[in-house]
């Protein structure tokens, strides 16, 4: 939706109260905006971040109670109570999200569900504070001096808040945070490889969405003037989930579409009140199974069908290519490293040394421990024994995220791109840790954040051009053929300015022509100055590129040296020509 369309929708929303007849219609319209606020945050968390919250109603309850109790029992003004409700709910959200720091996504869903039950129990149980079943009565309307925001004025107040939340949420989603959230949802390993701390990201997303729920709760309390525990049952949480799924998970306008769709059928809902949960359940089931992208997704599909026919030719690349910055290579030393998986030794007492700025290849038959070695160096697997020094620092024991932040970047055997992002956004993900603008600056689109966004895009474009894919910059990553996906992944690793770059079988599945291109590309990467370690089967490629080679067999060092000496080594010849099998010793089956 362009800026014009946004203004038109906003204009309609501003003028809506004049078209509505009667108190009830205005009430419904206000409530729609209150719920929109909540759903906006839920969409960021569940739609973009893939973290399903089944307890959002409880967060709304926290916000509503903090605001209502603050105003009624402690005489706070609305203008203090609203931020207080947001902060309080944000804190509750942080507490709730903290245990999921290191846990899988589904724990999160069940923890939100458990949290919701606990909250609804406590609303009744903590009677001295919450007034138990009788609830909080007489929540006042917001005031400025003698002026009271009621009726239409309150509607506009909620509208202003909702529109601000829409803008802020949009800014966040278009930023590195949005890209990182989609990585968390679609391909967490790619995020870790880019140095993104997914645990912190989850908590940030949850706190943000909790704050919006808190704001929604405060507005809810004011609008209703009376709140009781009955207002915040599990049904409310399910309702929010349904609205966001109906509108379209991870779609910018999903929350608005979902909320509108829901409120355009109020008559249906009042008549069928007693079938409500049945409708919610059936709706959720049918949508998730048959239309997981909701109404917004369906509209997109229709638009794409028409748009495809008159799709413009790819924009020609900018011709003035600034030279890429030099990368300072780091030397890599592996000392006596071992790793076993439940009794199977994958890497045993392995040592190797790679001088800074050189290209080193690790070769060996399937299951010889090549990829395991790469996973040990990048911290994706914990090391059982030994030391790994990058530029003299022992990295053993640091997490994969920390190692990536220190300039060790990698690609994966099967390329891990985020299908929902465009090619260039996938590359920009690699520069996540390089951005200096804070979350607040990004949320408010302050000058530094805007400048940086432009710089990042230009930078990502220069690396895309480096790998020869700048023409596909704006295509969805999901539509890119396999061979090119590898190149995009290499560009994503390079944009992180690595001092050590590890490529995991970059030649697998490439055509001969692509192979030549890859060979030239790796030479060019080495020319930038970074140290390159390449895990590969393809011996011709290795012989062409590498200054030194390590040959592994069943997790052990078989030979090391220059390509010439290594490939003529009798043990290597035997291992590759099947001499071992002829001798009746059998092939290795260690984990790859």
């Amino acid at each position: 939706m362009g800026r014009l369309a946004t203004l038109v929708v906003l204009g309609i929303a501003v003028l809506l109260p004049f078209a509505l007849r009667g108190e009830y219609a205005l009430l419904v319209a206000t409530q729609l905006l209150v719920f929109y606020l909540v759903v906006l945050g839920l969409n960021l968390l569940t739609g973009y971040g893939g973290q399903t919250s089944i307890g959002h109603g409880a967060l709304v309850a926290v916000g509503a109670y903090v605001a209502a109790l603050g105003m009624v029992d402690h005489g706070l003004s609305f203008w203090v109570a609203l931020p207080l409700a947001m902060v309080g709910t944000g804190l509750a959200g942080a507490l709730m999200a903290l245990p999921t720091f290191r846990l899988s996504t589904w724990y999160f869903a069940l923890i939100t569900l458990g949290f919701a039950r606990v909250i609804s129990g406590l609303l009744v149980e903590l009677e001295p504070i919450t007034h138990g079943f009788s609830g909080v009565i007489g929540v006042p309307m917001p005031r400025v001096g003698a002026y009271e925001f009621s009726g239409r004025a309150f509607y506009w107040l909620v509208l202003a808040l909702a529109f601000a939340a829409y803008l802020v949420t949009g800014n966040l989603i278009a930023s590195r945070y949005g890209r990182a959230l989609m990585a968390l949802r679609d391909n967490p390993l790619a995020g870790i490889g880019a140095g993104i701390s997914l645990g912190r990201l989850k908590i940030m997303a949850f706190v943000y969405s909790a704050m919006l729920a808190g704001a929604g709760g405060a507005m809810f309390a004011v609008q209703k003037t009376v709140i009781t525990p009955e207002d915040f049952t599990t049904d409310l949480s399910i309702f929010f989930l349904l609205v966001v799924v109906l509108g379209g998970l991870g779609r910018k306008h999903g929350p608005l579409i979902g909320a509108l769709a829901f409120f355009l059928l109020p008559e249906l809902l009042t008549d069928l009140q007693k079938w409500r949960m049945l409708i919610y359940g059936a709706g959720l089931l049918l949508l998730t199974v048959y239309a997981p992208d909701g109404i917004a997704g369906a509209l997109e599909a229709v638009r794409d069908r028409f748009a495809r026919k008159r799709r413009p030719a790819p924009v020609p690349a900018m011709t003035t290519a600034a030279p890429l910055p030099r990368l300072a290579g780091a030397d890599l030393v592996v000392e006596g490293v071992s790793k076993s998986f439940g009794g199977v030794t994958a890497v045993a007492d392995l040592s190797l040394a790679v001088p800074a700025g050189s290209v080193h290849a690790v070769v060996g038959p399937n299951g010889s421990g090549k990829t395991t070695l790469l996973n040990l160096i990048t911290g994706f697997y914990p090391v059982d024994q030994g030391r790994i020094l990058v530029a003299g620092d022992n990295v053993v024991g640091r997490g994969a995220t920390a190692i990536a932040r220190n300039g060790v970047r990698r690609t994966f055997q099967t390329p891990k791109l985020i299908a929902g992002l465009s090619v260039i956004e996938n590359v920009m993900l690699g520069a996540y840790t390089a951005e200096a603008a804070t979350m607040a600056e990004i949320a408010l689109a302050l000058p530094r954040a805007r400048r940086e966004a432009i710089e990042r895009r230009a930078e990502a474009m220069s690396y895309l051009r480096f790998v020869g894919l700048d023409v596909r910059a704006d295509d969805p990553a999901g539509e890119i053929p396999h061979g090119q996906q590898r190149l995009i992944e290499i560009a994503r690793a390079l944009v992180g300015r690595p001092s050590l770059l590890l490529l995991d079988e970059p030649a697998a599945g490439l055509s001969l022509a692509e192979l030549d291109g890859l060979c030239d590309l790796i030479k060019a990467i080495a020319g930038l100055g970074t140290t390159v370690v390449i895990v590969e089967h393809h011996l011709d490629l290795v012989a062409n590129l590498a200054q030194s080679v390590t040959v592994l067999d069943r997790g052990r060092l078989l030979a090391a040296g220059t390509p010439d000496t290594v490939f003529n080594h009798p043990d290597v010849v035997a291992a590759y020509m099947g001499g071992r099998a002829l001798n009746g010793q059998g092939a290795s089956h260690a984990a790859a």
Partner: protein, 289 residues
Amino acid sequence: MLVQALTAGSIYALVGISVNVIYRPTNTFNLAQGNLVMLGAILCATILGQLKLPWYAAAGITIVVISAIAWVTHLVAVAPILSRPGGGGHGWLVSTLAIGILIEDVVGKIVGPDPQRLPPPPPLSTELIALGPVSVSSYQIALIVGVIAIVAGLEAFYRSRTGRAILAIAEDRDASLLWGIDPTRLARMSFILSGVVAAMAGILAGPVFYASVGLGGSLLIKGFEAAAAGGIGSNRGVVLAGFFIALLEVMAAHALAPGYQDAVTFVAVLLLLLVRPQGLMGRTGLRTV
């Protein structure tokens, strides 16, 4: 007090185990699990009350019906999502939640909100007898023994050929495809098996709990807490955690008020997970790249 905790703990452990049974091969959960347990208790009580069938026949029918519902759940709400390219994200969370909502609503409309009391199977009774300092009923003893027997039975199953195949796909879905094991078929079997366990949990809980549809959600949470605290994948850990949670609950009810039970156990489990994400007896999973 201890006996009370042991009884409730057995039920939580069973629900946790039924969660585990599905998780191993599919890496999914059935969020309708708590509702299935409650439906098991209600259905068995209704069959006994309305059809006047013998106790064990009613229990048998209940197990068949509940496992059929679990099978249908896999068919309509889980398999289509898992078969999408990329595994469909976590859509199964929402779709199985939806199944739970549907069960709760439909059963609530048919049976009503009143709790159902299921009599214990003959010759057992729920009458308390004094055994030294504690009073316990013969049914409670049978219940605890029964749960331990079910766990032993499951462990024996996982040592069988099919059981080992299930554990194999838990380790590596792609590799098991290469070995000719069909993950979808085993996932379906696991859903059915978890339906059997859920039904048994419901039937066993019936005589000691008041079974009402509204309890499904709280049982799901308790079962999940037991599974998470015990260590996903470890049935013995789950039994241990189930007893701990129930004990904590009883203590919280005594020390504070019954209303704080849920909050206390929830916070305790969260704290445990904060310190030990893999649970009491779980293994740390390997990240696969």
